[in-house]
């Protein structure tokens, strides 16, 4: 302890000091026994634990936030049932007997995870605004663990949300099969991962929630429209075909549609018209490569997000 004061004989000042705020130690209750904790040195194990808890926090918050589950279903359901039923009258002639809702369904499976993934990424902006990000940033863990936990958490939440839409397959005449369920869930997980990574990457730069949501809307909405979630990407006008091929979401929608259509019994003309293969300068891009493209972009954006959070204060 420090050296005692040089003098104690002068009377305590009375005018300024108000000491009533502090209680006498004598009145304090007996302290409970102390539980000593030793924090182990950093290892990959502690990083894994950190990733896991950041991931779990997203799930806990998702579970507590029923409102979000309901509100984020509105948009996909509007597309599926209102747009799908409404435009059916116009398109009946050209869909080879396929219900427009069935055609849109794979696209809607993608939209739903896109928008929830985006909201999940927004949580990092909220965390910053409410200070919680600081609690994570000052912990003795790598920033990359926080970012990875966040992205995986967001991806999980978004694909859980996607499961609700998957449950609606019967309403649009898509029969269930194990392949469909696991395939759709897997693709949704992948797309949600990439979108969340993209969102977190943006969140590293944009620190206000309004601007963040605005920017995300501005980027994600056109990507979704251009991707062919709502139309076949076959005979598009030149400018749209170019944009369509440049849009990463195209490579998530196309495998999703292929997967769902594989569960239906469609004529080859119908498949050709509604789910034409994606081509690059006439070369047919294999589905596996399309899926890999989405994955690779997700990883790149995750890498950028980590670098940005590492660089920040």
């Amino acid at each position: 302890m420090s050296a005692p004061g040089a003098s104690g004989d002068r009377p305590r000042p009375t005018a300024m000091a108000t000491t009533d705020a502090v209680p006498a130690t004598a009145g304090a209750p007996a302290p409970p026994p102390t539980v000593q904790v030793r924090v182990p040195p950093r290892s990959w194990r502690s990083e894994l634990r950190a990733i896991k808890i950041v991931w779990r926090r997203e799930l806990i918050r998702f579970r507590n936030d029923r409102m979000r589950i309901v509100t984020s279903l509105v948009q996909p359901l509007l597309f599926l049932f209102v747009l799908g039923s409404g435009l059916q009258q116009l398109s009946a002639a050209s869909t080879h007997g396929v219900d427009l809702k069935t055609f849109i369904y794979p696209g809607v499976l993608c939209i739903s995870v896109m928008f929830t993934g985006m909201f999940s990424a927004a949580s990092i902006v909220w965390d910053r605004e409410f200070g919680f990000l600081r609690e994570m940033m000052v912990a003795p863990i790598r920033r990359s663990s926080i970012v990875i936990g966040k992205v995986f958490g967001g991806a999980t939440v978004a694909s859980l949300q996607g499961l609700i839409l998957l449950a609606l397959a019967w309403t649009v005449h898509v029969p269930y099969s194990l392949g469909l369920i696991f395939g759709v869930f897997g693709l949704q997980l992948l797309l949600a991962f990439s979108i969340t990574a993209f969102g977190v990457m943006i969140a590293a730069r944009i620190k206000q929630i309004q601007s963040f949501m605005g920017v995300m809307q501005m980027i994600v909405t056109p990507m979704f429209f251009i991707s062919g979630a709502l139309f076949p990407s076959g005979d598009l006008p030149g400018w749209l075909a170019v944009l369509n091929r440049l849009d990463p979401i195209t490579y998530a929608v196309s495998p999703m549609r292929t997967l769902v259509f594989a569960n239906l019994h469609l004529s080859s003309e119908a498949t050709q018209a509604l789910n034409p293969p994606i081509t690059w300068f006439g070369w047919e891009v294999p589905i596996a490569l399309q899926i890999f493209t989405v994955f690779a972009l997700g990883m790149i954006m995750l890498g950028i997000a980590i670098a940005e959070f590492n660089a920040g204060d």
Partner: protein, 327 residues
């Protein structure tokens, strides 16, 4: 061993040097108060000690680890309670503590007993399942303190732990600090704006203009002021100040509408003051030096003035944030 040891620590932001070579040591088990007007470099210094900001020059060791070279070791051994809340309002109190324990890698089997201990200490054990969103400001601050203690830190940093709290909560927070001193091997490093609270620190450092201008026990600092403080209300403050300067050779200032000055042996001076000031005096008060005087002596302003300007700054920052949000 010193819990904190700071050697010639500096921080520059561009051309501006916020911390200009600070030196001090904090002993293990001490309650160390860190005071200073806003913009004095207090926060920057704390941020460097907590590894949130990298020093431009000099070095600092916290809990025996260098803040730059062994950043994570420092982090593992310190607890932080910030002025601004850093809790997750959507989670319960227990979930917040558990999350902290996981982030800090606290051994799983001690998480529960430790949580019970710290929550009982701050009187929130019964509320552990409540969502933090529903907690009052005082409860949140107490929860933050409990959380900061979850991993048994060797040094606990408290940045204005009692600001904006009611007297009762302030009192209980000081109760915890006392209790911690007895039960844990912990050093407490705190900033405060409340001078009456600074009295309870073992030693205090006053920072101004990026330098530590005073460092000692509160008693010794008050003693060093030497003079008593006399405050007078007069009919004409300006004239009174001028007269005090010419006639008595005393330097007086006006603060909060009261002329105040320091003078040795104040009791004997008061009769002379009435006889020779030549300005009508409405009231007079005499006090022994307080930490406010110490603060004034070293920084040239009362802590209240410093606080006022800081709250003005805070308001301005809030307005800017709102303006920015609207953009």
């Amino acid at each position: 061993m010193a819990a904190i040891s700071v050697k010639d620590l500096r921080k520059r932001f561009g051309d501006f040097e916020a911390v200009k070579g600070v030196n001090f040591e904090v002993e293990t088990g001490e309650v160390f108060g860190f005071l200073g007007p806003n913009g004095a470099g207090k926060t920057t210094t704390i941020n460097m000690l907590c590894t949130l900001t990298k020093p431009s020059d000099g070095s600092a060791e916290v809990a025996g680890f260098d803040v730059v070279a062994a950043r994570d070791d420092v982090r593992r051994h310190i607890g932080l309670v910030f002025q601004d809340p850093t809790l997750d309002g959507y989670l319960t109190a227990e979930q917040n503590l558990r999350l902290h324990a996981e982030l800090y890698g606290v051994e799983s089997k001690v998480v529960k007993p430790r949580m019970e201990q710290v929550l009982k200490m701050v009187g929130l054990w019964e509320r552990r399942d409540g969502q933090v969103m529903t907690f009052s400001g005082g409860m949140r601050r107490r929860l933050e303190i409990a959380r900061g203690l979850m991993h048994s830190p060797r040094v606990l940093f408290l940045d204005e732990p009692t600001i904006g709290l009611d007297p009762q909560t302030r009192a209980s927070i000081w109760g915890y600090i006392r209790q911690l001193q007895q039960t844990e091997e912990i050093t407490i490093f705190m900033t405060t704006h409340y001078m009456d609270e600074a009295e309870f620190c073992g030693r205090i450092a006053i920072m101004d203009g990026g330098e530590v201008v005073a460092l000692d026990t509160p008693e010794a600092l008050k003693e060093a002021v030497g003079a008593d403080r006399i405050r007078i209300e007069t009919a004409d403050d300006e004239k009174a100040i001028a007269r005090l300067g010419e006639h008595f050779g005393l330097e007086a200032t006006v603060s909060e509408g009261v002329v105040s000055f320091a003078v040795a042996d104040g009791e004997a001076f008061v009769p002379r003051l009435f006889a020779e000031l030549e300005v009508p005096i409405k009231s007079v008060s005499l006090s022994r030096p307080t930490l406010d005087d110490v603060f004034m002596n070293h920084t040239g302003s009362t802590i209240r003035d410093a606080e006022e300007s800081s709250s003005k700054n805070r308001n301005r920052a809030a307005l800017q944030a709102m303006g920015g949000a609207r953009r």
